[in-house]
Amino acid sequence: MIDHRSYQVALRAKALTLSVVTTGSISLSATATGYARASGSFLADGFARGMELTPSGFASNPVDVITDVSALSITTKNARTVEGAAGSRTLAVGLPSARAWENKKPVQDPPIAGIPFVREQYIPGPPALQVTLGQFGDLELLPQYALHIHVPADCGFEAPSAYADAVMRLFTPRTAIPVGSDVLRVSDRGPFRGTLTQSSPGFAVVPITAPLWIRTPNSI
């Protein structure tokens, strides 16, 4: 049965699982200006300026934006409470927490300068086409799901590229997304990303689109 509403709900739920970069569970300390580690490398992990960072395992876990990265330290936009080194802590980057879901105002409108945000678009696609015969014959639908990742301007290409790559991996070709008794799949031709361009003042944006494919029984 044609059910674009459920498709979009399932795609959004998938997008929310996005994992861009993570330290994994390691020993970390919190400094007055961000975070530090004694070994390993934040750069090698893939952290970059302009990403939104989510800490876990600390006494205080404020979401913040990375303003500088070196192998052993991360500087964040805001000062934070110092905490000594301890294990079982994680720093991770996922889908930006500022989200402009389709036809819904983001919590912060206009977006706050220096903080990444994501905008969602669902494109229903061409007309439904009956592709098999008979009662409950299959309808073919070709919707598309787009995420536009907006990052702070002047933060370089690394953060937007990492976000875009992570989205493309999440929606890699032939990814199956169950929707009720049907299965929505990323088509063989996708996903694809657009060029990094200037967005609203203070932001750059990279659009990523996943073309999808689903066959569902005609309900007549």
């Binding site: 494109i123 061409p126 007309p127 031709r189 657009g194």
Partner: protein
């Protein structure tokens, strides 16, 4: 009619159908992106000054056809980067045309061979 003559006739018809398919697919692809299409669901390019609409061109070479625009805001409209409101037509026409391209080919072929 001998076998050779039949084969020659088949070959000529095949070439003519192929050329007509190519011509029809090119035309429908261009129409879908620029004007919009009921086959692909593409809305076509928004028209205000006609600059974007008229910037779209199609270059047909022996083995490929390139449909493109040199408008500086073609990308922003295609991706709907600024969530703009359009008085007519809309964004995503290239994407819609690409995903529904097999339907364009099918529609054109059906029109040629019946």
């Amino acid at each position: 009619m001998g076998f050779a003559q039949s084969l020659s006739g088949f070959s000529a018809k095949f070439k003519a159908n192929l050329a007509a398919t190519r011509e029809g697919v090119d035309a429908e692809t261009f129409r879908s992106i620029v004007e919009g299409s009921e086959i692909t669901g593409a809305p076509g390019q928004p028209v205000k000054t006609r600059k974007l609409h008229d910037s779209w061109t199609q270059d047909v070479a022996d083995t490929e056809t390139v449909t493109s625009s040199d408008s500086p805001y073609a990308t922003a409209v295609e991706e709907n980067l600024n969530n703009a409101v359009y008085e007519n037509h809309g964004p995503h026409s290239v994407k819609q045309t690409v995903v529904a391209f097999p339907r364009i080919v099918e529609d054109v072929v059906r029109g040629i061979v019946g």
